[in-house]
Symmetry: C2
Subunit: 123 residues, 2 copies
DNA sequence: CAGGATCCACGATGATACTG
DNA sequence: CAGTATCATCGTGGATCCTG
């Protein structure tokens, strides 16, 4: 029987994986993504970890895995309706990160940003 | 030079540690906490990990470590002003977790809750 | 060739004993 | 009580191999 001392632990059980939040962040931008697209957008992730984290998110009913029976194979991932309920949480985390980066840049730290995020920070 | 593809990665750099969010969740309840109190409230954490995560949060200016020069030693942790800026994020994660637990209980899963969280879920 | 699985190495985490 | 040191274990990273 699962035991929680804090309800936030239930949240962490689901999005606490090392890469899950970034994956969700991408899928929340709206478009379904293929495995290879996700891999390209998260250069530091291993294919193994990508697959693993996607499987867990699928098992928890957060994302949907759609397989196209064709050659070469094609698999697309998207948010489930339940997964959508995490949007506010992830959005807020994004916003906080943007403010954090902005602050650090103003303090003189050098940070390299992707083009999209660079625009994000300026606003 | 630090590189971010997504601004949410900056957030994860700071609160992505395995136990940091739970620690912050506790400190956000308002009262300063001693090391031993934190340990008692998070039974599954190792003392080593507790200290380590606290050190990192302190280095990132999220929490404040106050040492009382006395014997037996006494150390208290509290949120910094900057740490307070995470309150909304953590609160939202708590709320989502509470809804998740409620849903799972309604679906028949057996979940053991601490008294405080049990009250939380009912409302 | 895209998606996925397997094997091995290493770093992060866990368990325990110990110090001031 | 707070914190450290040591050693064991597990999760992650990386390369390679498999499948249609």
């Amino acid at each position: 029987m699962k035991k929680y001392n804090f309800s936030i632990e239930a949240t962490l059980d689901i999005i606490g994986g090392k890469w899950k939040i970034v994956i969700l962040c991408i899928l929340m931008m709206g478009q379904r993504k293929r495995t290879s697209e996700l891999k390209r957008m998260i250069p530091n992730i291993t294919q193994k970890m990508l697959i693993q984290q996607l499987r867990e998110l699928e098992k928890d009913n957060i994302i949907l895995r759609k397989v196209y029976n064709q050659s070469p194979p094609k698999v697309e991932y998207s948010l489930t309706e339940y997964g959508e309920s995490l949007t506010h949480v992830i959005d807020l985390m994004c916003d906080w990160g943007a403010v954090n980066i902005k602050k650090r840049i103003e303090e003189g730290e050098e940070i390299q940003l992707s083009l999209e995020e660079h625009d994000r920070i300026r606003n």
